[in-house]
């Protein structure tokens, strides 16, 4: 568990993307079985890793090597893995929600008790696709877990400058969809809430909406000068760093000590080294194969 947590955290160091929000994916993913489906965004490295996609395959994908989980065709924003039922990082904000609705619809039509977890940010809530997907899922009582990672910003736009009503759970209610907020900086709270939601959804009660209240410590992307928020605000949130706070708790509870911590950190460091080595050793897909995968090469079963 801690190893997951750590690796989910550290591996990101490579692209500075999910830092600060680790608790959400770590907690939420633990509510899912291998049979369930996951739809994610371009900020999906942690999710992919937690879903079980090998760190090496993810790293290789970012390198653009054909050993990558998307053969180097997708890159960091488009990690896919059919075996782990990871239906991709989607780089169109809101674009993954209709897919999740359809994946869940298929499960319902053939009476499978799977659930589909759909991760998206607070910024996606303004998109029409959010509205249409929420209504469809609720209207048809589909097994979708809408996991909203509310980090208070969509790029440089603060939630209060994007939504006339900033209580996102209220929005879910307007579709008659059960919804509740979760402390996204507390991994145990995230896990507990996700479990509860998954239980209801799996039982056939229809979709559920969770608002994970979290914060992005790093810039939105490499190019982001962060003119839109104050250092003070960021520092304030860093006090709630899900990793260090969880660490402290484990230490107090006597579960973790410096020796164990050292062990884990070494483990993670090694895993990262391995992943990078794997990616480095990866090969480039030959140019001749350029036009592959525009269309299928085999007939669908």
């Amino acid at each position: 568990k801690c190893a997951e947590l750590y690796s989910a955290a550290k591996i990101r160091g490579f692209l500075h993307l999910y830092i600060g929000e680790e608790a959400v994916a770590v907690g939420a993913m633990r509510a899912l079985t291998p049979e369930d489906s996951v739809v994610a965004t371009y900020r999906e490295h942690g999710h992919a890793l937690l879903r079980g996609i090998p760190a090496g395959a993810i790293m290789a994908e970012m390198f653009g090597k054909q050993e990558g989980c998307s053969r180097g065709r997708g890159g960091s924003m488009h990690l896919f893995d059919a075996k782990h039922r990871f239906f991709g990082g989607n780089a169109i904000v809101g674009g993954g929600l209709p897919l999740a609705v359809g994946i869940a619809l298929a499960d319902k039509l053939v009476h499978r008790s799977r659930v589909t977890a759909c991760f998206f940010g607070d910024g996606a809530v303004a998109e029409g696709e959010f509205h249409e997907s929420m209504n469809l899922a609720a209207l048809w009582k589909l097994p979708v877990l809408f996991f909203c990672e509310n980090n208070l910003y969509g790029m440089g736009t603060a939630l209060r400058r994007a939504e006339s009503e900033t209580d996102l759970c209220l929005k879910a209610s307007s579709y008659e969809m059960p919804a509740w907020p979760v402390d996204g900086m507390d991994v145990l709270a995230c896990e507990e809430a996700a479990h509860r939601a998954a239980l209801e959804v799996r039982g056939g009660a229809g979709p559920c909406f969770l608002e994970f209240r979290t914060y992005r410590f790093r810039a939105h992307s490499m190019y982001d000068p962060q003119l839109y928020r104050s250092k003070v605000e960021v520092e304030e949130w860093k006090k709630h760093d899900p990793i260090s706070t969880f660490q402290d708790r484990l230490t107090v509870d006597g579960i973790l000590d410096d020796a164990k911590l050292k062990l884990i950190e070494d483990e993670v460091a090694a895993e990262i080294e391995e992943a990078i080595a794997f990616a480095e050793a990866g090969t480039w897909e030959p140019d001749e194969e350029l036009t592959r995968f525009a269309y299928s090469e085999v007939k669908a079963p």
């Binding site: 489906s37 739809v39 054909q66 990558g68 989980c69 998307s70 053969r71 180097g72 065709r73 997708g74 488009h78 896919f80 893995d81 059919a82 239906f87 991709g88 989607n90 169109i92 674009g95 929600l97 209709p98 897919l99 999740a100 609705v101 359809g102 994946i103 869940a104 619809l105 298929a106 499960d107 039509l109 053939v110 029409g128 696709e129 249409e132 997907s133 209504n135 469809l136 209207l139 592959r292 995968f293 525009a294 269309y295 299928s296 090469e297 085999v298 007939k299 669908a300």
Partner: protein
Amino acid sequence: MSAEATKVKTTYREAMRQAIRDAMNRDARVFLMGEDVGAYGGCYAVSKGLLDEFGPERIRDTPLSESAFVGAGIGAAMNGMRPIVEIMTVNFSLLALDQIINNAATILHMSGGQFNIPLVIRMTTGAGRQLAAQHSHSLEGWYAHIPGIKVLAPATLEDARGMLWTALEDPDPVLIFEHGTLYNMEGELAADAGPVEIAKAAVRRAGSDISLITYGGTLFKTLEAAEQLASSGIDAEVVDLRTLRPLDTETILDSVNRTHRAVIVDEGWRSGSISAEISARIMEGAFYELDLPVERICSAEVPIPYAKHLEEAALPQASTIVATVTRMIGAHG
């Protein structure tokens, strides 16, 4: 379809309905989803009666949410189903274009070949019914620009009946465009009519003087023009593209290599229409075979007007085709 097969009288609409019924019976993974396909019976009555036959789970009415239910079709296809998604009219498909182009057309590629999308999207296209500028676009040729999808334009009863199942067997997203003026078309269809191949264009009328290349709603105007031309001694060949992506260049060049003249008839707006692509391919593949430059007869570059006489003036008509061909051949005995 065997030649001796007994024929039955039917319409394009009924042929399409029979195709849906047939697909639903063949494969439990197939279901139809769209606005008013169920209780209302389909805005053009194509799915009329199917709700009673297959029930609301498989003949699924949707709210007005083009983007979400097209996206849901993609998701369902990724998760083992064979959805047929109906969009009432091509104009409304613009609301779902993000899902069609950014997801349906790219996911197989972005996933390095892991997730194919066996989805069929049907929609009505074209003008000719005084529905004005928000219900009369002909965008099938425009859609044909997008890699990752296939685009079909069934014009005959056989294709209305036969293309759907072949499209559903295709591992990738297939868009089927049904021209609104064809639904009431009556004719004879073999009682045992079934799936047809979608890889090749069809020569609907053999001829030696000029190739008239068209598809969908303008096929019958073109055939009519060909008959008129025949009476004045001009023997025109009529090629029905049937599939707009991928284009069957071979059949096109084959025809032009025999006739050495070509006119493309396309209801799309002229600039950037698929007629331009065909002209360019003839340029690239049969330049030295041409007796004279390829010409195009397309819709006027204006949103389709409501007034009947203006709408007619905006669209390709048999008379225009006859006049153009006569001029072209007159110029070169």
